[in-house]
Structure formats: C-alpha cells, structure tokens
C-alpha cells in the first residue's frame, strides 16, 4: 500500500482516561454518584450468605426450649442472642444469616436459569424471525399470562415442597420476561448497519448472533437480571410464608415471617426482623438496578 494518503493530523483521539478529572470517591458526592448505602446492604447480605456456616453465632436450626422467645438486645435481651430467639429458642440472627444463604442460592439460580433460557429464545426469535419468532413469541405470551401462584401450589402439591422444585417452578415462570424484553432488543440490533455489514463480510449466523448481537444485549440483560433478583427473593419469601417453598426446618426469611405471625404481640421482633431484612435487601437491589440502568444506558452516559 502506498504512503500517498497523508496521515491524519490534528485530531487528538479521545481516550476515556484523559477525559476530565475523575470524581473523588468521597462524602456526599460519592453517595450521589454511587449507590453507596444499597451496595453496603447488598454486600452485608452477600457476605452473610457466603460465610453463613462460619459467622452464625448459633446453630440456626437447633432448638433450645429453655431460651425461647427472648427479646433482642435493647428490648430486654442479652448479647448471647443479639436479635433474640424464636418460639423454639433458635437464634434469630443465625436464622437470618442462614436465610440469606438460601435466599441468595435460590434467587441466583433462578435468575441464571431463567436468564439463559430467555436470552437464547430471544436471540433465536428476534434474529431468525418468521415462524420461529411467531411460535416463541406466542409461547412467551402464554407464560406471561399464567397465574404463577396457582402453578406453584399445583407443583408443590404434586411433587412436594423442596428447594429444587421451587427453583424449577420459578425458572419456568420467569424466563418469559427476559424473552419478551430481549427479543425487542435483538430485533432492533439486527437491523443496525453493523449487522448488515457483518453479513456482507460473509459472517455466519452463529458469529453474528454471538459476536455482534449478544454483546449488545448484555446491558438490558444485566439490568433485567438485577431487578429480577429482588422479585425472586420476594416470591421465594411469599412461597415459604405459604409453606410452599423451602421445607422446614431450614431457616428462610419467608418461613421466619410465617412462624413469627403467630407470636405478634408476644415477640414482635420475630416478624419485624425478617420483614425488615426482606424489605431492605430488595429495596437495595432495586436501587442498585436503577443506578445500573442509568449507568449502562449510553444516552445517560454523558450526564
């Protein structure tokens, strides 16, 4: 190639590193820029879940009837059971920590499973179109309109309550959300010029799908998955509350709530503690998800 074309001058190429001073991670500005408080709460929950067997002060499922219905510290309790005990004398703090483990395990498996199924179907439907798209989209519609609680009750009734069944039911019922949203995104990206150019260059369908389209739907996928995470935690808690979720005696937040409701007035802490835990965790995840949505959307990137 000849050197006739003059190299192109005077055009400093903007690298992200040199753009402006980086914000200092400090004080109020940091709190406004990053979801510091939600991230902290999520961090605590995740760490408790991961380290549960090592950090829980007591065995969460072993009763100690001599110490039943103790109050938390500050409400007449003592430091041997910082958040008090339940009606069988099991340590509430240990059960919350152990519940975090099971909640995270279930919600992550569900989000991974449903996300994978939804993404694959969305890619196939959106990219190939035609009959495949019609079939997948109708099935998605059907799943979006099935009353999910009834299915859960039916499945548990037929197969019995178990963690595995719960995960399967939840995956089954939530993949359609991903498929619906991501299919639209795939359709949009499929019609962008760079996909046409990939076809002109002779790229195979597989290459176009995995190298060109998939990386461009990761943002909505991550946002969706984050928001689904909190939804699944709530659903899991609801089902456990109804006795359709994780079988006893395994501590779960929903199960604790269910047991606690019989002791309202006797030991309010038994309801308040798991309730607040669920609410704070889900609120934090949602706030984090919102922040992520703004952060990952290129239209907001400049502001």
């Amino acid at each position: 190639m000849s050197q006739e074309v003059q190299p192109f001058e005077g055009a400093p190429i903007v690298t992200p590193v040199e753009i402006g001073p980086r914000p200092r991670f400090r004080g109020l500005r940091a709190i406004r820029r990053y979801p510091v408080i939600p991230l902290f709460i999520i961090g605590v929950v995740v760490l408790s879940g991961l380290l549960a067997p090592w950090i829980q002060p007591h065995e969460p499922n072993s009763p100690d009837l001599l110490a039943s219905l103790e109050q938390p510290v500050g409400f007449g309790g003592d430091w041997s059971h910082p958040l008090g005990t339940d009606e069988l004398g099991r340590d509430v703090l240990s059960r919350v920590i152990s519940g975090a483990r099971i909640s995270l395990l279930i919600s992550l498996s569900v989000v991974l499973g449903a996300g994978a199924i939804g993404t694959v179907l969305a890619l196939v439907a959106g990219y190939f179109g035609g009959i495949l798209d019609a079939v997948i989209s109708r099935i998605t519609d059907v799943f979006l309109s099935v009353p999910f609680l009834l299915v859960a009750i039916a499945v548990v009734g037929a197969w019995g309550a178990s963690t595995q069944h719960l995960v399967v039911v939840l995956v089954f019922m939530t993949w359609s959300g991903y498929a619906r949203v991501l299919r639209g995104e795939v359709l949009r990206i499929r019609n962008l010029e760079f996909v046409k150019l990939a076809r002109v260059a002779g790229c195979s369908n597989g290459r176009i799908l995995f190298s060109h389209i998939l990386p461009n739907i990761v943002n909505p996928l991550v946002i969706l998955a984050t928001l689904q995470l909190s939804a699944v935690i709530i659903i899991e808690a609801s089902l456990s509350y109804l006795g359709l979720g994780v079988p006893l005696p395994q501590a779960t937040w929903g199960g604790m709530l269910a047991e606690g409701k019989n002791y309202i007035g006797v030991s309010n802490a038994m309801v308040i503690i798991p309730g607040v835990t669920i609410a704070l965790t889900c609120l934090s995840i949602n706030l984090f998800g919102d922040w992520l949505r703004v952060r990952l959307d290129p239209r907001f990137r400049q502001l």
């Binding site: 001058e9 402006g20 990137r301 400049q302």
Partner: protein, 346 residues
C-alpha cells in the same frame, strides 16, 4: 450595525454575550461561549456551523429549552423587543414561545403528534395563546394558515393525520403552525435537512415568502451554505461555540475573511486542486470540553500564526456590517489589535 445604542431604534432580537455551558461528568462543554448578534423585523439571519459548533444550542437558549440539569445559560442577555427573555418566569416564557417566537424543526414527523388530526393540532396553540374559543373562528384561522403555506384543499387536510402526508407537506403544516399565532420571530432549525433536494427548494421558498409577507424576523440554523444563500440576508458563521464571522450574505460570499469561512465556501463549491483532489479542511472540529485559550480553529488553519495559539482574537470590523474574529484576517486588512473585548462590536 454601527454602535450608537441610545439613538438607534430597538432591534427585534438582541443577543448579548450569550454563554450556555453543559456540565457533564467529563468536564464543562462550552457549547455557546460569548455569542452576540441582533436581528430586525423583516430580516433573516443564517447561523451556519458544523455539528458541535453551538448553532442549535444558541437557538435553544433563545427559547430557553436547554436540557436541564446538565445545560445552563451561564450568562448573557436575550432581548426580544427590549425584554430580557432570560429573566422571565417559566410561565411567561411559555407565553412567549409559540406566540411571539415560534420554531420550525428539522424533522416534521416528530414535531407533529401522530394521534391527532392536523386540524386538531393546529387549533391547540390558537386556543392557548390567542384564547380563541369559537369553533368557526378556530377553523377559519387554521384554514387561513394552511392556505398561506400552499396546502391544496386545506379543508380536507385538516382532517388528515400526519402519517397520511408526505415529508414536504408535513413541513408545510409545521410552518403553518409556526405562523398561525402571528409571531414576530420565526426560528427554523435545519428546516430542510430531512427533505429530498427537489422538495427543499420548495420549502425554502415558502419560508422566504412567509417571512417577507408577515415581516418576520427569522433565524435559520443550518450546516448548508446553499440554504443560507437562498433565504438569508445576514450570515453568522459559528465555530466551537462562537461567531467567527458575520456579514451580509453577498459580502460573505464575495469576501469571506475568516479562514474557516473561506474553507467552507471552497468545500461547498467542490473546488479541486491541480491534481483533481477536492479541497479539504484537514483535521476534526474541536472538542468543546477542552478548548485551549487560543483560537479553536488554529490547529486546522492554513494561516495560523503564533498569536493564534495563545489568545482568542477580538471581534474586528471589516466594514459597517462585516465582523470577523481572526488574527490573520485583521493583519490582512491592516487592523491593529486595540484590545476590544469579544462581543463588544456587534
């Protein structure tokens, strides 16, 4: 325009040292940085520049539709018949928009609501701004406006939806909406960019006719010198947030003085050098987030001198109505640097 503020009759619009900045995560973008000009009734001003030159932000600052919170009008005055629009309340400003100033935008598809008929949409501003309530009166106003913009069978068009119209028809409707409240200032932002070339001329002609007939002040923002040549009386060329040259249209085309204007003219006329290559302006427009103290055109300028890199040139008058901000042009025209603050000469 010579400077004699006390005796001179008031301009329709006077923009003084307007600065609009965008505060982004990646630094402050000085999108408009010290723009001054004035406009009289019956006059059309062309604001010419490339993307990022600040021409559209100037317009949006005049009507105060800068996206918040990132964008902020930092300083300056926008005087419409002597009243500073930047000091009005939001409520008063809403009254001004549409009634005294109206806007024709680039894409006629998105400036019309697809859910309402043309007649419905055109009645809305009349109700809001002119407080006309009677149906027959509204109808006759709308029909008048549609006739004025050359819509055939306006009675039938009133019942149409935007998607039933062609691009040119839609742009005519948008123009009709813009003039139905008898504004004094019409602002057109790239009014023909989205249209086919054979339709562009028809729309430009329409704008010119409407402007003459109603004796409007008009500002046309465009990147296309051909548009400017067809409808404008005065042209201001913008680069990196400032007006670099301003002159009456014929003078600008005959004697462009800023190297950027000269280069644009050559580029538009498709001038070629001896080897048959097209004349080019090398390099890229600057990033308005990181402007050096000197003239922002200096890195691309064929006439660049040492002073250009260090100090922004003042506004110098080449004739009574021809101003330029360029050290090289000042030197060529024998103008001494007398330390005029930018924006003093209009």
């Amino acid at each position: 325009m010579s400077r004699a503020p006390s005796t001179q009759s008031r301009h329709l619009l006077e923009v003084k040292d307007l600065r609009t900045h965008f505060f982004t995560r990646n630094g402050v973008a000085k999108a408009v940085d010290g723009v001054s000009f004035s406009l009289d009734r019956g006059q059309t001003l062309g604001l010419v520049g490339e993307s990022g030159s600040g021409k559209t932000v100037t317009l949006m600052s005049i009507v105060r539709l800068i996206p918040k919170p990132a964008g902020r009008i930092v300083s300056g005055e926008v005087l419409l018949e002597g009243r500073d629009l930047l000091k009005l309340s939001d409520r008063d400003m809403r009254e001004v928009r549409g009634a005294e100033i109206s806007v024709v935008t680039q894409d006629p598809m998105t400036s019309l609501n697809p859910l309402y008929t043309i007649g419905n949409q055109m009645e809305e501003p009349l109700r809001y701004h002119q407080h006309i309530r009677s149906h027959s009166e509204l109808r006759s106003h709308v029909l008048d406006a549609l006739k004025k913009v050359g819509i055939p069978v306006p009675e039938r068009r009133m019942k149409s939806y935007p998607h039933q119209l062609s691009g040119g028809q839609r742009q005519r409707i948008v123009t009709a909406m813009a003039i139905e409240c008898q504004p004094s200032l019409l602002i057109a932002d790239e009014p023909t960019t989205a249209l086919d070339v054979t339709v562009q001329i028809q729309i430009l002609r329409l704008l010119r006719e409407v402007q003459k007939e109603m004796n409007l002040g008009m500002i046309v923002v465009t990147h296309d010198l051909a548009v400017v040549a067809r409808v404008c009386d005065v042209v201001a060329v913008m680069y990196a947030g400032r007006i670099v040259e301003k002159a009456p249209i014929v003078e600008m085309f005959e004697k462009p003085s800023h190297p950027y204007t000269q280069a644009l003219m050559k580029a538009v006329e498709g001038e070629r050098d001896a080897t048959g290559r097209l004349y080019t302006i090398e390099g890229q427009p600057p990033d308005v987030r990181r402007l050096s103290p000197g003239c922002p055109f200096a890195p691309r300028c064929p006439k660049v001198m040492d002073i250009c890199r260090g100090e922004y040139p003042p506004v110098a008058s080449l004739s009574s109505q021809h101003t330029v901000s360029c050290w090289a042009a000042m030197k060529e025209n024998g103008i001494e640097h007398i330390g005029l603050a930018p924006g003093v000469a209009s």
